[in-house]
């Protein structure tokens, strides 16, 4: 008999990176690589499971920026073009390694992987991945949730409630257009929660969100079931807490599965290893050393010493690790069932890009895990948070603790010496946007277009990705460029609107480059959206003027 539940939650997000003003753009490759290595393999895994009649439930968050990239015609065209070049390279690699048996089968594997990606993308899914995810949700396999429009970091943006409203409203409206229903769950960007934000989620019909472990453990009053059952915020929105134990097994660089010596090494890539005259045509600008996606080595050791990748060993390990993960969850649930007077739920959220991109065998691990849970045991069952709330609608009333899943558990990743300078600009721009929205009840024509574009620029500036990249120290210049250009665009639009001197040519240009959320309506920033919300929670008073 089932003694408890496991909720696997995948968080799929990339910042909006699209540069039509350039022929090719290095940072766009984040998206192309993730499609080939993560999103398509995951879709394929989920479809195969469904075709094989395996009963399963998995929750996946598709961020609005990611959905917008999936739906963008230019990025689709560029993706296929890029994938075709990769297939060409894989062909060459099959030929080049024909006398190197230790690499040849891996070269064939890549050719197969890329060709299948091409088939899936162009023929099976007809360039429309959102539709593919939608079908899996409609078939009762996936529970798709959403997150902040541009993955803005709520706890630090939230000094103006209108900003949170705009992030949530934009996301929920896009979701409804894409999936033909309302989202049940909301992925708080970076699991960043601040008491009171749930009231805005409530307004849009959200039933639950997920917090970091101590978001639940430190909740007040103290939750009776720890983080093994949801709690209700005073707004009635449920909060689920991330399970530390299951996260560690998958995430941890040291103790986690992905670091196993048999798995494929991420860093040794032919983009760095092979002669420029050969690999050049497949590198950015024909010369910039970077990842191609073709990697022949296994992790082997903790040093630089690497040995060739052996696919069968890696798959064997993925199966063992899936079994181990399941075994540990069974033990966890058995232990918990002695303590709780209800069936516990273990919430295990992961970045989707871990599967396939970082951890090459991740999708196979997931496939093995889901099959094993269905057929090899009876203690645990897969569930989505939405389903759990249907089984247990009565939950304890408590306020989750302000927290995030970032380093140290609060806001320091997005507020430190490397990025703290951005917040004054974000708060000021938001104040100006709110002013514009409140003072223009019914704009039309070019004024409306300028107001809507200002909304897009502000939303793009709010991505948590920019301060995160500034903190991590790689690609910093790109993050700064993006942040500053959106703030600069916004500021000029604000001044042009106020001064009644909108430059239509420049506006056209902006609309064609920063084109996400075509249906955006600047009035999402109006103060009356948040005015009627109960409050005040002390820290949420508006920025003083």
């Amino acid at each position: 008999m089932t003694k408890g539940y496991l909720a696997l939650v995948l968080h799929a997000h990339l910042p909006y990176v699209r540069h039509p003003e350039y022929e090719e753009f290095l940072e766009e490759k984040w998206f192309y690589e993730a499609v080939t290595e993560t999103y398509l393999p995951l879709l394929w895994t989920f479809e195969k499971l469904a075709e094989d009649g395996v009963d399963y439930r998995v929750t996946i968050n598709l961020s609005p920026t990611l959905i917008s990239m999936f739906n963008d015609e230019l990025l689709r065209q560029r993706y296929v073009k890029q994938l075709e070049k990769l297939i060409e390279l894989a062909d060459k690699e099959v030929y080049r390694t024909s006398n190197q048996p230790e690499f040849h089968s891996t070269a064939l594997m890549y050719k197969d992987l890329f060709s299948r990606a091409h088939y899936l993308f162009t023929e099976k899914y007809r360039w429309n991945l959102v539709e593919a995810f939608r079908r899996l949700q409609d078939a009762g396999k996936l529970e798709i949730i959403t997150t902040g429009a541009t993955h803005g970091y709520f706890p630090l943006l939230g000094v103006q409630r209108e900003v949170i409203n705009a992030q949530v409203q934009t996301a929920v409206e896009l979701y409804e257009r894409c999936f033909g229903r309302k989202p049940l769950g909301f992925w708080l960007p970076e699991c960043g929660y601040k008491p009171g934000d749930d009231k805005i989620l409530k307004k849009y019909g959200i039933k639950y969100f997920i917090t970091e472990t101590h978001g639940l453990l430190f909740a007040s009053p103290r939750p009776k079931y720890g983080n093994y059952a949801p709690i209700y915020c005073s707004s009635g929105v449920a909060a689920f807490g991330r399970d530390a134990e299951s996260s560690k097994q998958v995430w941890s660089a040291k103790e986690g599965y992905p670091g196993d010596f048999d798995y494929r090494d991420f860093y040794r890539d032919i983009g760095y290893d092979l002669d420029l005259s050969y690999i050049g045509p497949y590198l950015p600008e024909g010369r910039i050393r970077s990842h191609t996606g073709i990697k022949y080595y296994r992790i082997t050791s903790t040093t630089d010493y690497k040995e060739p990748y052996v696919r069968s060993w890696a798959l064997e390990k993925a199966a063992i690790h899936a079994g181990n993960f399941m075994f540990n969850r069974e033990k966890q649930v058995e232990w918990l069932s002695g303590l709780l007077d209800r069936k516990p739920v273990i919430v295990a959220p992961y970045d989707a890009e871990l599967f396939g991109h970082w951890w090459f065998e991740g999708p196979q691990w997931l496939d093995f895990l889901i099959r094993k849970i269905r057929y090899d045991q009876n203690t645990i069952e897969l569930i989505t948070p939405g389903d759990y709330l249907k089984i247990y609608p009565c939950n304890q009333l408590s306020t989750p603790c302000e927290s995030s899943w970032g380093w140290k558990g609060y806001h320091e990743v997005w507020l430190n010496g490397a990025n703290d300078w951005i917040w004054r600009h974000l708060h000021k721009a938001a104040e100006r946007m709110i002013e514009l929205a409140n003072s223009h009840h019914e704009a039309d024509g070019i004024l409306k277009r300028a107001l809507n574009q200002a909304t897009r620029e502000l939303l793009l500036a709010q991505s948590s990705d920019w301060p995160f990249i500034m903190k991590t120290g790689t690609m910093v210049q790109y993050a700064k460029m993006r942040f500053q250009s959106h703030i600069a665009n916004f500021t000029r639009l604000y001044e042009d609107i106020k001064g009644n001197k909108i430059d239509e040519r420049w506006l056209n240009e902006l609309e064609s480059i920063n084109n996400l959320f075509p249906e955006i309506d600047y009035r999402i920033y109006r103060s009356d959206h948040v005015a009627e919300l109960p409050g005040p929670v002390a820290e949420q008073s508006a920025v003083p003027v």
Binding site: L26, P221, R222, S290, L354, W405, D420, W423, T472
Partner: protein, 254 residues
């Protein structure tokens, strides 16, 4: 081989030395100069649950760096100009974690001018810019007590303040203390509540059942035991619910 090891050691020493030098030279304004007013505030700092990275599974692994195509960036990106300041006079406070507040501010030229007009041209330059931290937990503006007073540099526009007290609410004030002891108020911040860092002491349980479920559960009850009084009570509840109280609490543990 020995030579190789020696050179590695040399590099390590140089690197560490460089790091130490860098930290030593960090601008003073980035450090909190605030002294503790109440020594009892120290207590929580020792038994932090989250402070050590190893305690948190939500360490770097949780958010690996964004997918990096390349270690190098495509081309040096041009940084568009953004405003230095916005001509405002304001201070904004953000909680970084349970113990630290980050504050940024801006003092508009007109404010400086006004002070100079009133208190003489040296009023500003000889005065001390002060950041006052008030603990307003539970009492808001009235009867709040100042727990820290930090002298900040005239040229700084942000500060990290260690308050050391999770779950307290603070208010920041920016002011100028003139040489003659006159205090001039400049700006007041938003209220900032620090996150909790520990289990809640409150263990009373309250339970919630969404209205829709309640209707189903009690609806069935009405079918079986429907007494007019009970039905009336439920109707009253429904009216109340429509007024915005969509959830009511229920002491039952399901």
């Amino acid at each position: 081989m020995v030579l190789w090891e020696l050179s590695l050691l040399l590099i390590a020493v140089l690197f560490l030395g460089g790091l130490a030098w860098m930290f030593h030279n960090k601008p003073l304004r980035k450090r909190a100069l605030g002294k503790k007013v109440n020594p009892a505030q120290q207590k929580n700092i020792k038994n932090l649950h989250i402070e050590k990275a190893s305690d948190m599974e939500a360490a770097e692994e949780v958010i690996p760096s964004p997918p990096q195509t390349a270690q190098k960036e495509s081309s040096p990106h041009q940084l568009p100009a953004i405003p230095w300041s916005y001509g405002d006079t304001r201070i904004v406070a953000l909680a970084r974690d349970p113990y630290w507040i980050f504050a940024y501010w801006e003092i508009n030229g007109a404010v400086r001018e006004k002070i100079q007009q009133q208190y003489g041209s040296e009023g500003w330059s000889s005065g001390k810019l002060l950041l006052r931290v008030y603990d307003v937990t539970n009492n808001y503006f009235f009867d709040s007590k100042m727990i820290l007073e930090i002298q900040v540099n005239d040229y700084s526009n942000n500060w990290y303040i260690n308050t050391g007290q999770p779950n307290h609410t603070y208010l920041l004030e920016l002011g100028l203390l003139l040489a003659d002891g006159t205090y001039i108020f400049i700006a007041r911040s938003n209220l900032v509540t620090m996150p909790r860092d520990d289990l809640s002491d409150i263990v009373d349980e309250e339970w919630l059942l969404p209205e829709a479920y309640e209707k189903r559960v009690y609806g069935r009850y009405i079918e079986i035991h429907g007494s007019p009084g009970f039905i009336q009570e439920m109707e009253l509840k429904a009216i109340k619910a429509k007024k915005g109280e969509e959830y009511i609490s229920s002491p039952i543990n399901w």
